[in-house]
């Protein structure tokens, strides 16, 4: 799985947030749909699930599951926190860090990246603008995700509304880190948004409401995966 995700073919990572459509049994059902579409289209997919749901999705579905956050410290007296050990024991593949809805301090981002790597968990560190995302790339996460907070959940796609955010990020990040996978997100709702972002240099996507709250999540997810394939075949 980890090898799989380390190549730079497009990755579509669906963030379940705390949406009721993606909690408990519904989280399992949605993860299954996403996994099946990924398999059918041969596009890499994953889900970022709520902590309580991770172990069941891993056990019943098989799709790579990411945590939505991890705390910086190890096992011990940290009531109410989430350790990398706990995510690992639940079968997670990796974790988001510093999502705009769960920002943390830079020293904690750094510690969490180091600890996650030691345990074999992939890290996806989120940033809201070009400069911050480039700075975070210097901390050597496996992936960064750039999501302008003002577009999150709006249906106004970053690749249409602020294409320069993607192209500038890719350029600036590459001056300081040649290996990090660059995801983007915020407002993506159509296959065309996906295709455009890949053209601009994105290597994957962090998507939430665009799939989870769509009237027909499977149809949207299929569109996204097909657009990714269209790009892989013709767009480069």
């Amino acid at each position: 799985m980890t090898d799989h995700l380390h190549s730079h073919d497009p990755l579509i990572l669906v963030n379940f947030k705390t949406y009721s459509e993606a909690t408990g049994k519904k989280a399992i059902a949605l993860a299954r749909k996403i996994f099946e579409i990924g398999n059918r289209t041969a596009v890499k997919v994953g889900v970022a699930a709520q902590f309580c749901d991770i172990i069941q999705i891993v056990a019943e579905v098989g799709v790579p599951v990411f945590g939505q956050h991890v705390d910086a410290f190890g096992p011990g007296a940290y009531t109410g926190h989430v350790t990398a050990e706990s995510l690992k024991a639940a079968g997670a593949t990796g974790t988001l860090l510093n999502h705009s809805e769960r920002t943390i301090k830079i020293a904690d981002i750094h510690s969490a990246i180091v600890r996650s790597r030691e345990l074999g968990l992939l890290t996806v560190v989120c940033g809201g603008d070009v400069d911050v995302t480039a700075a975070l790339s210097l901390l050597m996460p496996d992936m960064v995700a750039i999501e302008p907070p003002e577009l999150i959940g709006t249906g106004r796609a970053v690749s249409r509304e602020k294409p320069e955010v993607i192209s500038n990020s890719v350029r600036k990040i590459r001056t300081v880190n040649q290996n990090v996978r660059i995801l983007c997100g915020a407002g993506i709702t159509t296959g065309d948004d996906i295709y455009t972002a890949l053209k601009l240099g994105a290597e994957g996507f962090l998507i939430a409401s665009g799939v989870v709250r769509a009237p027909d999540p499977a149809r949207v997810m299929s569109d996204f995966c097909e657009a990714a394939n269209r790009f892989s075949e013709t767009g480069k």
Copy 2:
């Protein structure tokens, strides 16, 4: 279960924190031991488990499981947070709130209590001293737990070192809330600590390292439960 916990017979709630001895499969094994001892001695017991472990403990053991924290808001765009809905879907009986290792703002404590009650989750709100714990009792949680932070994890029992904290808390809390169950914790390692605290007016215990990190957790848990029974029979 909830009815069961609502009576005021002594309750022993074991906080697993993020201890490696209580993570993943080890969490299930430890929860099973605690549940068996509770059943054998007819003492009410519960565990406060890490988020990722709740669903498995519920499914495989049957002991009442509490979250260690819950966030104040409902389903929605709250990446990396833990909603009461998520705990409920995982089968939790209730949750800790405001543990000294995971303190939150009073407006959030209040919202989390209200939301938890709506979903049928019990709340155990922690405070570090008499005045704060009494103030929190006014927010109508199901239980409060008073734990002087300076004694947590020390093996110096609150019931020996600061018995007046327990008796003063009970007295002050009862002037503002006649129904809340009053737990205590911090440093409790022997059955005598349990007995003494019950004599002082405690109605239950929040215990972590005293059980989880003991050389023989089952033996300590048995001691605790037997002391609770000794009190129920003779001490009142």
Copy 3:
């Protein structure tokens, strides 16, 4: 001054927030106007100023000046924080605590109240609803201020829109604390709002945009003070 504020005649405390109209030299000018109106009408007034401005307002104006926040700990290695000692050295009369724009943890509220009292600083602890404000009253601050956050800055006065918040707060707070002065705030823009709130049991006001951002702050402040006097003479 402190004695003066301890009586329960209406107090009008103007929160300067970080408004540009109330920063630096403008803060001094505004504080002077407020002080003069207070003197002319014989109504108790005070201002809650930004940290950097406190010492100058104290030196040049003479009006009681409150901090807008204080941290819970004493002198030491706390870079970037604000101690009660620092406020005291600057000549402050007291401080706000837990304003809805600067909420802190309940254990910190408690510590800050205790430390402030030791140094002779008055505390005004803010809460957003009846239950939270009553709970905070148990921590024995000198004053509480109830401000429904959804009305702050709206011009929709709490005394008109949610009069029951004031009357219920007064009733509930008095069951647990007979001495705390009860302020209210949020949306107050006219003398009638003041009069009505005093009728409902409020003993003072925490007011921000209603004065600071008014086209003519002096006129509004005069209206408020005159309404307070009208109540003192006839309304009780």
Copy 4:
């Protein structure tokens, strides 16, 4: 002043923290000593003072004064916060950001740098290790200060205990930012510590207890400034 600080001659910036030895009138007296020694030795000096003390030190002493923290947002409804406008109005030259005792989120560091620059305030962004400090350098502050938190306040100088932290930081930071002034700190107590750090590539110092809590702050400050001069004359 700002031009003065922009050259890369050694700068010694004394952080007053919330030490009682550096609060109120004592802050003014200490700042005066530091300024006089800087003038006598022709070494650039500054102080990072508590918010309440800034305006008086500026007015009475003339030494460049830095805030110890600034919040990310502008004027408005931000009770209890510190805006760049407020620091500017008080006459500050610049501000610390993200000190290990007052860490903030990376997006806020970025906003605060941008806002401070617009107002003509210098920024000194602190980091605890090489990687984090290099990442923060990408956000284009005027200065960075690397202070291993485990050495702060210990009297065990970073230049003796962890010289590689300084040399590695300088090397790594220079790959991403050629202009930022690189300060170091933590445990520095003697002129030799200063000299060694300058040899390793440091261009200045952030010093707290080493001066403020010394039995004779003026003597220590003189030693530091003379060591800086010794380096400027012979050490390069």
